[in-house]
């Protein structure tokens, strides 16, 4: 599902762009967040809980809960709900707490 109407926000959808999710080619739009693009593509599990590895998905959507953290272009703990999609991004599910390089 892609949100198109919202009581207080407007969505300016830009041009279609390509990115990858765990190596798989995906499409999204300029101007939307990574999590929004994944959600629209039917990807519901964004992360795994640290101890019991249970699925974690889109939750607060405002960058406060860490439920959507993924590895983006090699950088861990990126909050995909507030990070805008860019052409050619490599988005991956994060294993564990992430390693900074």
């Amino acid at each position: 599902m892609r949100i198109t109407q919202h009581p207080i926000l407007t969505f300016e959808r830009g041009k279609e762009i390509n990115f990858t999710f765990n190596g798989q080619p995906m499409k999204g739009y300029e101007g939307e967040t990574i999590a929004a693009a994944l959600h629209a593509a039917g990807v519901k599990v964004l992360a795994k809980s640290l101890e019991k590895h249970r699925p974690r998905g889109f939750y607060c959507a405002i960058g406060n809960c860490a439920s959507c953290q993924m590895v983006v272009d090699g950088e861990p703990n990126v909050r995909t709900c507030i990070t805008l999609l860019r052409e050619g991004m490599a988005v991956e599910t994060q294993e564990g707490k992430g390693t900074i390089k």
């Binding site: 860490a66 703990n77 707490k97 992430g98 390693t99 900074i100």
Partner: protein
Amino acid sequence: MKNKADIVIIGAGMSGCSIAYNLAVRGAKNIVVLEKSFICSGSTGACGAGFRMQWGTEMNCRMSKFSTEFFEHANDILEYDGDIELRQSGYLMIADTEKELTQFRKNIEVQHACGIPSRMMSLEEAKELVPHLNTDILSGAAYCQKDGFLNPHKTTDAFYKAAKRLGVEFYTFTEVTGIKVEHGRIVGVETNKGYIETPIVVNAANAWSQGIAKMVGVELPLYSERHQILVTEPVEHMQDPMVMAFNLNLYVQQTPHGSFIMGRSDSGEPRDLRRTSSWHFLEEMAKTIDNVLPLIGKLRVIRQWAGLYNMSPDRQPIYDKVEGVEGFYVAVGFSGHGFMFGPVTGTVMSEMILGMEPTIDASRLKLSRFAEGNLFTEPSVV
């Protein structure tokens, strides 16, 4: 609440809980600990959790060795149902001046004489140990594998529970508001929950200890000072030792959980009982970490907080029985290293109160040293 006790301890931080346990384990009865807030609500719960044996005086080396050996077995000795999370993953002391390096070398001689396994470390080796360390700005390092950190909340909890099992009574949210003295002797303690008759009071109120001493007309030569600290988001394990620098002014450790805890000193901090946080600290800490351990600068800060150091003129604690007020004891003035000295504090104070032969010689830490101008100078304090 009891209205009569043999010994009343004021403050349930690391010091108060360790004193209570050590008294009880040596057979003392009728001990009451009064805490104005909750257990570990003072500096102990706000601290950086580090312990080290890399000191520059023989006394501090001996004391910290005693503490370290206690921590190594604390889960068993205190029969703790949890884990104090001791990590002996080392302290890497870094220097950026020749002067500091010379001091490190001198300190290590003292440490070796006390059987402490510390050593100088080359910058190449330091870089291997902590790959994200910016060795370009450093002149050298010293290291002791047996130093490290442990969880202050759990460690205090371990002492608290062991003391409780031995019959010590703890009253939280009970604030001491006055101390009654008759004919130069302590006779009781006034609290917001009622009066307790007692011949002995132990002041373990750290930053608040000056106020407690005033209740019996004693001026302690101490001031309290804010120190700030922060914690980052967790990442996979990447740093073993506590990294500490005097001149570059920082300490930083990665907790078992994966978050980094870091702090620094600032001579501009208020000298009162404020425990608020400042932007200034956040900015200075960020600059420091970007300079010394740049990679960690990428992490997001989760939270920052502040605690209080209780500073003495020579940056050393006071363990004493106060002259002129019979029954008044102080274990105060830890100047930022009272957590790691906790096991020593309990041992020294309990033996002093019970008139037992001292296990550790702490006679250099008497209150009278200040009036006599006989200060104890430790070169390696933050």
